[in-house]
């Protein structure tokens, strides 16, 4: 077990974490500001990926594809917010869960209708493919490094947005007291649509970026959505910082667990059992992590009382 | 000679939220047969104090005793089982239930054995008897089958008291029972509470000064989390500090 291998997996975990953060940030913002649980967030991830694949196929430009993913997801988010989500803010969580679950059905089957069941392909552009040699002699795919970089830039931008801009103040105020900001004259509907679209755009970007490594297909957003939920439960609902910490934690735990648990069990079990037990345990690891965090801090690491 | 051991004793209760001291070394007691009113300007910390007495909030320091027993570490449910009856400032009733169902709930809680799965609870003679008696005492027996959501505000207040009664509590904690009641409603409730004190003493948080001065054997005044005076109605009326605290309020009002 070499240091190089470990470092490579750490970077993979970081990359995974950063993608989860993009998903989780949108989810936690929407919940923090609007009090709404949105199961359809994964659908927006999928929309971004499909838009990127389509545009990349048409124009051949990866950059345009990324822009398309942001735009398409944001647009889809805005439309959905105005048409459906808006009516759910005052409803109880059950209604929100059901309505957004309905949206998932509509989006998934709708996408399948338009694009068919076969996955689309989105290729990593040439200028981003190939390995990069990092200090220490590790060779790591350039593309994955780019993803990490983009993710960190977005995180920084988000923190700046929340902390330093007027929109950010409105968001923070909205999280603290929804009725108050309406009373203060802030245009709530526009703010909410904006926040929702922002979250959607982030999800779409994540979908596009990951779509180049995995494939672009219907339902791709769902496993990621659930993980994003785990992330914000661990990090604390409503906290962007919690989303980042939680995402990195989950990303690292999952990636390192999947690689090293089978090896760990291989130390004293025979290979077949080791892989099987290791893989099973690894797949449950993040949920165990979530359960542990909740036992100690029921509101998550950075969650306030709700 | 009536027994003067306090039914409720609050000693040195303090609670801070960050820099805000919501309860500042509060001590008071509740004697058998008395109505002890807790008054004070808005933001004085009355709700916080009530929450600590009822068990939903833990004090940072201090001690609470019910019937001589230290309950500081017990939760709301345990305190209820010891006989602490409660009514809420904002009606805390099951809105979908009928009036009778709400009171039966109270009777069920008092009896315990809620983990019974096969009997029809609304046909349980013992529970119904307790429930109906409570309803009769507050005068709501005619409304037994009405949906709680359809009751008037005043009737919901009555229902709150009825539910508290089913517990046959050793003491009552009442948080602004007069709130939202009109003149006749307040008068009726005042008369009711006057009688009720014989069964179990009442710690009463109230803003309605007429009711307070009519009912209270003793009054404690809470300002900025601390009790600045405790005494009879006359003593409190004459107290200079209290007048200052309230005169300020009345000027602004």
């Amino acid at each position: 077990m070499s240091i190089l291998l470990i470092l490579e997996q750490v970077l993979n975990g970081l990359q995974f974490g950063v993608m989860l953060f993009l998903m989780a940030a949108g989810l936690t913002l929407v919940f923090g500001v609007m009090g709404l649980i949105n199961l359809a967030h994964g659908a927006l991830y999928m929309v971004g990926a499909f838009a990127a694949a389509a545009v990349a196929g048409l124009t051949g430009s990866f950059l345009l594809a990324l822009v398309a993913s942001l735009a398409a997801a944001a647009a889809a988010g805005a439309i959905v917010e105005v048409a459906v989500i808006r009516r759910l803010y005052d409803r109880d969580h059950l209604d929100q869960v059901l309505a957004t679950f309905a949206l998932i059905l509509i989006f998934s089957e709708g996408t399948r209708w338009i694009f068919g069941s076969f996955p689309l392909f989105l290729d990593v552009p040439d200028y981003l493919s190939g390995p990069v040699t990092l200090p220490g002699g590790i060779e790591y795919p350039m593309y994955r490094l780019t993803i990490i970089a983009i993710g960190l830039v977005v995180a920084a931008a988000l923190f700046w947005l929340i902390a330093r801009t007027r929109i950010g103040i409105q968001i923070r105020a909205g999280e603290a007291d929804r009725e108050m900001i309406a009373a203060l004259g802030v245009d709530i509907s526009k703010l909410y649509t904006l926040v929702f679209a922002l979250g959607a755009a982030l999800a779409g970007l994540a979908g596009a970026l990951v779509g180049a490594i995995q494939s672009v297909q219907v339902g791709m957003g769902e496993p990621v959505l659930i993980l994003a939920f785990v992330v914000i439960v661990i990090g604390g609902i409503g906290s962007i910082k919690g989303a980042l910490v939680g995402a990195v934690l989950v990303g690292l735990t999952d990636t390192l667990g999947k690689v090293f648990l089978p090896q760990f069990f291989g130390l004293f079990l025979e290979p077949a059992s080791a892989t099987s037990v290791g893989a099973s345990l690894a797949s449950m690891l993040i949920y165990i992590l979530m359960a542990l965090v909740l036992l100690v801090r029921p509101s998550g690491l950075y969650g306030g009382s709700n | 000679m009536t027994d003067m051991t306090p039914v409720l004793r609050v000693e040195g209760i303090s609670k801070s939220f960050g820099a805000l001291k919501a309860s500042d070394n509060v001590s008071l007691d509740l004697r058998p047969g008395e109505i002890h009113a807790l008054i004070g300007p808005n933001g004085a910390g009355k709700s916080t104090l009530i929450k600590q007495i009822s068990g939903s909030l833990r004090p940072d320091s201090g001690r609470i005793e019910v019937l001589g027993r230290d309950v500081t570490d017990l939760d709301t449910v345990a305190r209820a089982r010891l006989g602490l009856g409660r009514t809420f400032q904002i009606s805390s009733l099951a809105m979908e239930f009928t009036v009778l169902q709400n009171v039966v709930l109270g009777a069920l809680g008092a009896r315990g054995r809620a983990f019974s799965f096969f009997r029809n609870v609304m046909k349980d003679k013992a529970l119904l008897e307790t429930a109906c008696r409570a309803l009769e005492r507050v005068g709501l027996q005619e409304e037994a089958q009405r949906r709680t959501a359809d009751l008037s505000h005043g009737q919901r207040r009555q229902l709150e008291v009825a539910v508290a009664l089913t517990l046959q509590p050793k003491l009552f904690l009442m948080d602004e029972p007069m709130a939202g009641l009109g003149a006749s409603g307040s008068k009726a409730l005042t008369g009711f509470l006057d009688e009720l004190r014989q069964e179990a003493p009442i710690l009463l948080v109230e803003h309605d000064m007429d009711a307070v001065f009519a009912l209270a054997d003793r009054i404690s005044v809470l300002v900025y989390g601390a009790v600045i005076a405790t005494g009879t109605a006359d003593e409190i009326r004459a107290n200079a500090e209290v007048r200052r605290a309230y005169l300020g309020e009345e000027d602004a009002a």
Partner: protein, 328 residues
Amino acid sequence: MPTRETTLNIALAATLLAVPLLALAMDEIFIITLATKVAILALAGVGLNIALGIGGLVSLGHAAFFGIGGYAMGILAAHAQNYDPIMEVPFLIEGTNQMPIIWLVAIVASALAALVIGALSLRTSGVYFIMITLAFGQMLYYFAISWSAYGGEDGQSIWVRNEFPGLNTLDPIQFFLIAYVILCVVLVFSARLARSPFGLALAAARQTEERVMTVGLTPFHLRLVAFVISGAITGLAGALYADLNRFVSPTMLSWHTSGEIMVFVIIGGVGRLFGPLVGAAVFILLEHILGGFSEYWQIFLGLLLLLMVLFARGGLIGAVAGREVAHD
């Protein structure tokens, strides 16, 4: 004088019995199978309805119990059909293909799982609770996928339907009757539960947690018991479902399945005794009628659900029988 809802319920129960009997007379075996599916899915929904409808617990991970029941059946039957004991040391545990034993195991296993999951999840509330139940369901889903002993992602087939003493379970109408009787028994149980002291306290905890505490009852205990009962019933449904299909796979544990079970309950009317039955019937009908026209029929299910949530909260039973009459 029975209420509108009671009359409706009796009619529904009668219809569910009449349809397959009629189909038998007309030799339409497929319809009998559909009716069996409706009965079993309704059972799953009745389970969820206890936690969700009475208790207000939005459990998005109930597929966990459905799947545990299914896998209980799958494991026991697989070992039976292979003549391969499950465990030899320290005790001999063999598989079985006897339904009553399988049902017992399914119920106990799901109840235990619900106890553990509930004890952890019920410490939270609101959105946290929803997400945590979802997460636990997913945890079991991924575990099942990685558990290659029972097929992993491909699932486990059972070649012959399990046995019930005295009946020919391979006969569609007899298997339907088994499912139907179980459904009726559970419905009676559920109705009595709702009217019981426990049901009253649980429903009160949903509406006003504070009040329940101040009358001396602990909401956490009430909810945990409800969650366990709820999980056990859904687990039984899972065992029956796997038996019907002679197949169990991780899909039974997926959150889509959790969502679907919730959809049955909602379409019929959450909290209504026969809600899950109506919901399951509508779902199966849509699947087969609309599904015949388009393989994208779930879009319409989604639209129906959306419209229902936005505009018709009482579900179908609510639309027909009005607001629930207080139990007396």
